[in-house]
Symmetry: C2
Subunit: 259 residues, 2 copies
């Protein structure tokens, strides 16, 4: 049985047997200084196009490392198609939310400005780095997309009609999430959470009139915005999302050499 | 209609109309220096015994504040009975997990030492402070209990048989959470998550043999320990937990003067 890779890394380059890949200085540092790896050690690579590969470290120097893919351990496959639409929140909570949402299978982050949003700027590079690390750690084969900030009104005006927008509605008038989700036909979904100040009444009224919006209640307590996002995503994945896939992927994974 | 309280605070003392309550120096600082409140302003109080009250600030000085309860706005009631059994993790993730779990209605935190636990110490006072703030913010009427750290083996040896222990099982062999939870009879529950290194195979084998343990799968991705806790709690509350109560409590809340 081949050695279990000590790290799992996303790379931009194509992956093919024998075709050496140069890692970034940050990745080289992680392997050399943090994980104490050297030539001959195994790592796993994915690039969101060519599946997952086990690769061997060929050369290692300060800030530079090349690895050579040996064998594909997973074919590329479609992954969870689930968007998270959210109002930017304070940095530590936003970082945490992006990490957790990536682990829960979010495919696109769609930041929106709402009436009560009080944080209007995002650092997309930082969010992309957090999402990449979470994708590596959670054994995804893809990275989520970080979209540009847009006003909520424009996002819903351009909304793809077949995608259900699941509105985490704290007003107390929405049906419990499990009951509302049980009524939904299959199809792509997005989860929408408001800012810390909640949605304006006028925003909720407008959202509820849209045919693709499905308001859901997340219980009797007041949830912070990041808590609502993570809880909403978990319930949506559990009820009609990709959590039914657990056996297939995992058992496949366990038979492969690197898991 | 009375003024909406600008803060919601937990206090240890009994609450009764007209009986002045001395706030802690930290609470006095929050009201005076952070929220800029003064005599005559309204705050909400709860003590986990006497329901929720709207109270009026009577005196305010540096580090000292007295408030007088005027009217009970919610009677005390039973809240979510759900334990979280978890292996201690690194501080920032633990703090987030305790905040989120409190918002999701955890009534007792049960830290356990498992085979792969690599953080063995907890600061119970810090966790209690985080839980108290999350309880204030999420409009709970109770605080969760922070139990002492115990070996997992001792916790399960002393387990109350009627409480189902929902094991977040990343091995890939557990049924999806929604399917497993649909089979469970009503009754009190606990969610169990392992440390970052996962459970040892021998621990999983022993847990699965216990009649009160219900293994559940949380999807095809590898979740961090704190993500598994929050996602598992959300799904358990959504399917047979207290999320069906959304309408009752919230509509009651909206009719009351302070919401």
């Amino acid at each position: 049985m081949p050695q279990k890779p000590a790290a799992r890394l996303f790379v931009e380059t194509g992956l093919a047997a024998g075709a050496a890949v140069a890692l970034s200085p940050g990745q080289a540092h992680q392997l050399r200084a943090v994980l104490r790896l050297g030539p001959g050690d195994a790592v796993a690579l994915f690039n969101a196009r060519d599946g997952e590969w086990v690769a061997r470290i060929e050369t290692m120097a300060r800030g530079a490392c090349t690895v050579v893919p040996e064998q594909q351990t997973h074919a590329q496959e479609d992954e969870s198609d689930l968007w998270l639409v959210f109002a930017p929140i304070k940095r530590a909570r936003l970082d945490f939310m992006v990490e957790k949402a990536t682990e829960l299978g979010v495919s696109a982050f769609c930041p929106v400005i709402t009436a009560h949003t009080n944080v209007e700027r995002l650092n997309p590079d930082r969010l992309a780095a957090i999402a990449r690390e979470a994708a590596e750690q959670s054994e995804r084969l893809t990275l989520p997309e970080i979209r540009a900030v847009a006003p909520l009104s424009r996002l819903v005006a351009d909304w793809p009609a077949e995608r259900r927008l699941i509105l985490c509605d704290e007003s107390g008038t929405a049906p419990p999430a499990a009951a509302a989700l049980a009524e939904l036909p299959p199809g792509p979904r997005a989860v929408l959470v408001g800012p810390e100040g909640g949605f304006a009444e006028s925003e909720l009224d407008a959202l509820r009139k849209l045919p693709f919006v499905c308001p859901v209640g997340l219980g009797p307590r007041v949830l912070r915005s990041d808590t609502a996002a993570i809880a909403g995503l978990a319930v949506v994945q559990s009820l009609g999302g990709d959590w039914d896939a657990v056996r297939r992927r995992r058992l496949q994974g366990r038979a492969a050499p690197i898991r």
